[in-house]
Amino acid sequence: MKKQKNLLILFFSLLFHFLNAQEIEVKGKITDQNGQPLPGVSVVVKNTANGVQSDFDGNYVIKAEKGQTLNFSYMGYNPKDVLVAAQSNINVTLEEATQSLKEVVVTALGITRDKRALGYSTQEINSKDLNKVNSTNFVSNLSGKIAGVQVTGSGNGLTSSSRIVIRGESSLNINNNGPLFVVDGIPINNSVYGVGGGPTNQADLPTDYGNGAAEINQEDIESVNVLKGAAASALYGSRAANGVILITTKSGKKQKGLGVSFSSSTMFSSPLKLWDVQNKYGAGSHLTYSPGADTNLGPRLDGTTTVVQNGSPGYYLGQAEPLPLIFRYNLKDFFQTGKTLQNTLSVNGATDKSTYRLSYTNSNSNGIVPNTNLIRNDVSLKASYEINSKWKINSSVNYILSNSDNALVTGYGSQGIMYNLIWNHTNVDLNWLRDYWITKDVEQNSMFSWGDNIFKIANENINAFRKKRVLGNISSVYNFNENLSLLTRIGIDNSGDFRWSRRPLGSSRYPKGMYREQNIDFSEINTDFLLSYDKTFGDFTTKFSVGGNRMDQFTSKSFIEGDGLSIPGIYNLQNINVTPSMSRNDYKKRINSLYSFANIGYKNYLFVDVTARNDWSSTLPKGNNSYFYPSVSLSFIPTSVFNLGDEVDYLKLRLNAASVGNDTDPYRLEKTYNNGTLPGSLTNPKVILNNNLKPEILTSYEAGLEAFLFKKRVSFEATYFISNSKNQIIGLNISEASGMEYHYINAGKIKNQGVELSLGIIPVKKKEMEWSVNANFSKNNSKVIELTPGIDNYVIAKGPNGGTIEARVGGRMGDIYGLGYLRSPDGQIVYDNSGSPIVDTNVKRIGNYNPDWMLGLSSNFSYKGFNLFAQFDVRHGGKIYSMTNAIGMESGLLAVSLPGRETGIVGPGVVKNADGTYSPNTTVISAENWYYGNAYRRNNIEANSFDASYVKLRQLSIGYTFSKKIASSLKVQNLSIALVGNNLALWTKVPNIDPESQALNGGTLLPGFEVMQLPSTKNYGFKINVNL
């Protein structure tokens, strides 16, 4: 039977041979510069879909016509083109590209281009670097790796959101400053959907369920390319105005072995920084003990007093034993060691016509707060298939299931853990609070009527969620001939997030209990096409493309909450015994786009790109819903033309100018009424709409250079950029006496400029030993040039306690405003006649939450199979308001509240005399009035703000890759292990907290304000990778 089959095949191949007389069979062997065979090298007949892969021995066979060009490419190696002449045997040697010499880059719309041809700044992280250390939020893994990219975590537990900003903020809408995330050419949703109010809205504190891109599975990623400026992103439209994070997932490859990979990571977490708690004084006031006191301004903790203590066993029954008054408070009695296990199993392979990769990742984390967790299951399947030599289809599907049995609320209020920890007593052993029920599900054992028991919060105040997400796309490339091709693609990001929260009866804020459900359904569908014509005219290579895209977005949010339960301990809708508040809102948006671009290259050292795009958005008014934006970029490689010396291997100069337009949110054009509190009541909205809104425009200019020096041992990149955004669509505050709070207008001119520098040095490069060092530096500065005639300031976001983030004409984006000390002309604090500092009623600028500059430093050392990698993240400057500091002073719990307990305090500064002069302040004020009674303490934003500079040891990895000998004796292709850690150390002057904390206001992250966030964690563990 087999013989017959073989004969048939022989017959048909001979037939083919005759029919395609010009076509010859080319074969050969592909090796690396050491003569080692390279399997899985992609061999493609240029400008066709005709491609094969080399086998385990590096051999390949392909049919091609004379005059065609074969392109050999393999990740990690420089590609090669060879012209097919008469020879039928073409052996190829590929040169290994060192990390920094990656020459092929994935750019907008998933198009791969040679890096030399790009006139704009891009920077790449490959899979190896990305996967050195695992984390549960993909975005946080990008921190410090790329110049100009600022990633800030928020300290809200396992599901913490990370905020990412590229090249500074240019939007007055605080949530619109992030880049667009694109996976395999399809934009995906990175939004944060809120539930709850602001960080000090004690009745309704928000929970951080995370940002959308946090779920991206780093183990599935081949490379991440950051396109930083508008030019790089002009082809993705409005949402890419702030840059694009282009993610390419792994595809199937031919390889030695089964193609099975297994990776397992086990990490432990513990708090990175805990409060500096004072251990000298106990509960009470005026150095007198009182169990009911909020404060720790009581007597010394020297054990000489023996009293009944609030929180001790039996206290609520009035049966507590008197105990010595000593220091017992230890945060480590509450926080536990967290654990995260991540396992990935994948299988991939390729045949001549197809490639496939199937992977499954399971991630299971337990947090440092008891009873908190995060579980993710991720299945992804990616495949490609060549239908014939002209037509290739690619498809990928990614199904992500995430859930948590409990995420915590964040902010200042009785439902928050940190609140109940800071309003606690130094003589209390936190373990006493573990027994938290007086009557199960009905009455909790809480130290204060206005607070909750911390273990009850962790175990009973549940905020859980279950989210299903599908990312999928299908694309087809059809080559009409060697010049003309058509790409069509459809992609979808669809998620359904079901959240529920419960509070038992007897909770401080919900005495009758509470149960709530929230559903957020989101879907975005992108359909696009791109028609390209590729031709070489002598020394000129040209490519012209024309394309279009339709994006449809649909969001549906529903919410139902009942603040009263009939049967204790039952948490579902049917157990609600009060009128629930409920709502459901749907939002739709569509953008149609047409675009075209031209890439012209001259002799492979001079390149010009021109792009043009026009969008039509459904959210803008009819006459003004279309906006056009072009870009042009230039790249010149002088080293191809001139000899700049032996030291300079490669130099590229690049220049570009681009503009990007932007629309707004749905439903901003027609007035609608809102629901009142009572059923059947309506009320006027708080915002005046505007039928004359115009699109926003961002224009940017960039100049840069890239160089390789000293035989590619040094790589250097520098970029300078300026961008201007104008006509921003904002809700400008107006006088409340006008009946409304704000009014949508086009306003604002923001200018941003900055510099990015990257330096890579390989001081040691030997056969078995290599050491490379990389540094990324960025500095940017923004200026608010104009808002709107007659208006000088705009409140971008409200922080806690009267602090605000404002854009004021002449100021910078990210400026924090609030109340501060009244000062004398020579800058000293002015006190009143009671010895208390006076708060200046004029709001003033406190600082800016952005750092002055950022530096990422990493070092990679390898010797034989050993590898040591470390990355530091340095941020210099910036300010953060710490509410923990303010409250810790009021409650007397923190060490900062120690001075003057027994002597009183004389505040350093002056008093104003009746005649207007100043004399030194000599009034002694009691510790009670200084710490606790100082009524404006938390509202004094200045007094509680700190220089947020810090250095963090972001990642550390000590690894060993077993030699091929040992590996093959174990019957595996590759085996490596590593000890890993992230966020391991922090150096900062900010007391008590990690300066990388952000408050949450509903769904908005508020940088610059820490409002009782959870401690951030340091994570350490080990990782194993094995390929079969």
């Binding site: 028609l531 948006k589 749905p666 439903y667 009572l678 009541s681 309506l682 009946g739």
Partner: protein
Amino acid sequence: MKKFIIYILTIFAISACTNQFDEINTNKNQPTNAGPKFLLPTVIFNLANNSVYAAFDFGEIISQYGGDYEYNASDIYNWGPDSRFWDLYENLQDVKDIEKQAIAKGDQNYQAVALVLESYMTSILTDSYGPVPFTEANQSEDGIYAPKYDSQESIYNNILDNLTQANSLFDTNSSIEGDILFQGDMLKWKKFCNSLHVRLLMRISNKEDVSLRLSEIVSNSSLYPLFESNNDNATYKYSGIFPDLSPRSNGNGREYEYHIVVPSTHLVNLLVDNNDPRLNEWIDPSAASNSYIGLQPGLPLDQIGEPANYARRADSYFNNASKISAIFMTYSELNFLLAEAKERNIINLSTAQNFYNTAVQASFEQWGVNMPSDYLTTTAPYNNANDVLYEQKWLALYHTGVEAWFDWKRTGKPSFIEPGPGAQNNGLVPRRLNYPSIEQSVNNANYQQAVQSIGGDNINAKVWWDNF
């Protein structure tokens, strides 16, 4: 090839197609119209909540019915910019909307109700802050985003005229929907309109001669009906069923916030000394010693001590969700006003003593407490030589918004309202609220003008009618 070109062009056309944009950008989540019957409940409910918040916290403290046992910045007059009543402008937006729609439809009752509510809310604003936006207020939809501030005198002229107009518009033969205050009883609205008119005339009586206008109102009950009993009271009664609960009731507010204000020595001692049964209704004895000890107003924070040592607000008002009401104006207050008017010969009707007796009796009834038979003869008989009228009025105004403060500003009575030992503010009891700080940002030019006209945005500047 031809087919191919057509295919491409079609895709072009589809991309550029925007004719579904209208439908996509139509907000189907909320209605585009709202008739008065939907807006009126919101107005009344928000007004009620604002009144309860004001009465239970700021109102008690400034009129020294009670004091904070911690966070006592208000008690010692360490005040800053204050937006507590400025929020009424958002409420006024709905009122103006009702008025506009009513005029367009020729609905006199809704128009009159809107005029009364507008006058009432504006009076609270101007009595608290002084000059406030009025003629240019609530016109953001006509493009006025930074309204000018009007003088209090011109505001009062306007709102008094509005009340006269409202009175003439009411049609007691028909009714309105959405009226959660008076259940569509237009006669009660008319009574409230005129009783409010009496209050406001008395408010400006030190500055202007109001005898003619006041006499006209009180002597013509068919043209100007007034409250005739506690049944006519302008009081919003919460049903107690969520969400129709007061912000200080169990199920909506927290016990901590209910008890953070502790009854003052003035309140407790006055009630104890008079053996006044309203004591038991309003106040529970202290947890520590089961006795009636009040908190001295304005003590420095570190001298206050434990709240367990002081009497407390009655738990029944917190626990029973329908007990707290929002009190706008009562029959009792009306009679106290008339008593005072007769005393000062502004009106010539009945006797001050009759009005006084009616007023005191009405207050007991209002609170559901039996007045002792000798209360008006022995305990607190009418006497125009002492402060009994003002002290009893002060008691009767318990939890009636911040009316007691406005009254004290005008009369200086009861005279026991004085700065406490820990008071800052140079030993003065404040007479107005500071404007909200955001006005300095969004309406600075007009803000500065208004501030100049009263001699500075400070809490001791007196409003126009306050020439006491």
